[in-house]
Symmetry: C2
Subunit: 259 residues, 2 copies
DNA sequence: GTATGGCGTTCGGAATACGTGAACAGATCG
DNA sequence: CGATCTGTTCACGTATTCCGAACGCCATAC
């Protein structure tokens, strides 16, 4: 576990661990949770009750689920920056134009969060249910195109910080798990202006990503477009076309930004 | 404050109170929060750090904001029931057909949460930024059409429970603040099959709502359509047309449901 | 009909970890 | 350069959390 500053509040941590456990198991009972987190049932009891009272959990007979009280907070965060709304709308046009999946992603705390996700005509609808890019999902930065596009624009120092904290876990055989390989890749991305993901996150899935920077050159987020590997040849013309589309979209978005 | 069971976890409560305060003030500093919640700076310090570490808050120089970590949880809750996705898609068709605002709302813990929101052609886009019906917002059940539609189908006992917990605060001069008046209204709604909201939540805003019930007659959620009062005469033909549209939509949704 | 095991719940007691306040460091302002 | 904001650190005392055992409840088993 990483050192998180002076004196972490343990009680809050266990409460949050409980909520996380409930989400990960898609509904759990008190005893299950007590087992899983190695806590006394009475302790879990008290935590669950307060969390239910606050609306962050819901109790359905004896099973606890994630509550809707998270919504007002997540929507608040999602609309914090007016740019987010603007960018999110463009995701739909990207999906439509390319006929693939498109998303808008933001970095926070060294992890990537999908703020908006859309699918174009040629993609099977079923995918949206399971796609890791679906709005609200959160993943590592090193194995997705938009994540790498953003990393490429951060300082080496910050990148190292992120890698230290979250590591480079592999999800497929193609995932970059070596720090220096990643730094080489970031260099390529900087030169080329866009990033690619060649089955590094999911087998058979490729994507192309481009980062969005603010007036002060700070990274704001990234767009990416992806689809099944057979449709997106790595160095094929379609890749370059999509990359161009992304870069244009980023430019046009930037021109709309206030100073 | 309501009694929330045996032994509430105080520490978790203050952590959550901090997050709430951050959201309500749209970004706050440590000292501000310490003042507001009447806590020692050092206490707030520890809480904020753990919350940042967990991703539920973000620190921007010295101001704290709501973090994106809420997203994975809220989306989980939003997709918990597959019905939610089906219902949410219909909101768009409702908005289009009526040219007004449409939403899908769910009850949890005695409060109403907007899961999906859409605006039709004739509504000014600007509204969506401030509308209380925007996705993720949460409000009382007694002063909105869909809330009342749902209340009408709950047992009197449950309704009373909800009223006791959340009260009947007034937001306009038309808000129902009296318990027996509300029960009379619920009776009317049951007879008529749909609920109306005549400037009870926002001045100049009217809406019509219809509840969705599951195979076991349990209330699942509600649709509503609303707009400026001048466009929706209370007992005019448009109201009845929209009500019919809502009821049809509810029926068609129900026919899609598994046993 | 009774026994057993599962669940959530309650409660008293003990140790921990939370909250406080005072003192420190850095920044910004007059 | 002093005054006054920040946020940070630390030692201390006590309130709070956590535990464990006992309880009630509802199944299912026998």
């Amino acid at each position: 576990m990483t050192d998180d500053g002076p004196r972490p509040v343990k009680t809050t941590k266990t409460s949050l661990a409980l909520v996380r456990a409930v989400r990960d198991s898609d509904g759990a009972t008190l005893s299950e949770l007590a087992d899983r987190l190695d806590l006394a049932k009475s302790t879990v009891h008290n935590h669950l009750h307060t969390l239910v009272d606050e609306g962050f959990l819901v109790r359905d007979s004896d099973t606890y689920h994630v509550g809707l009280q998270f919504l007002p907070f997540s929507e608040h965060a999602r609309n914090r920056d007016p740019l987010y709304s603007t960018a999110r709308q463009r995701v739909y046009s990207l999906a439509e134009k390319t006929g693939n999946e498109a998303d808008f992603i933001v970095e926070e705390n060294g992890r990537a969060y999908t703020l908006e996700y859309a699918i174009g005509e040629s993609t099977a609808r079923g995918l949206s249910e399971s796609s890791p890019f679906r709005a609200g999902n959160r993943f590592h930065m090193h194995n997705c195109a938009s994540g790498k596009a953003m990393l490429a624009l951060l300082s080496d120092e910050r990148v190292r910080e992120i890698l230290d904290r979250w590591g480079l876990p592999a999800t497929t055989a193609h995932t970059i798990t070596d720090e220096s390989t990643l730094f080489d890749e970031l260099e390529t991305i900087r030169r080329r202006g866009y990033a690619t993901n060649d089955e590094e996150l999911i087998d058979g899935y490729r994507s192309i990503g481009a980062a969005i920077t603010g007036p002060d050159d700070a990274v704001i987020g990234a767009f990416s477009v992806g689809g099944p590997a057979y449709r997106l040849a790595v160095d094929g013309s379609s890749t370059r076309e999509i990359a161009q589309l992304l870069l244009d979209e980023v430019d046009s978005l930037k021109s709309e930004l206030p100073p």
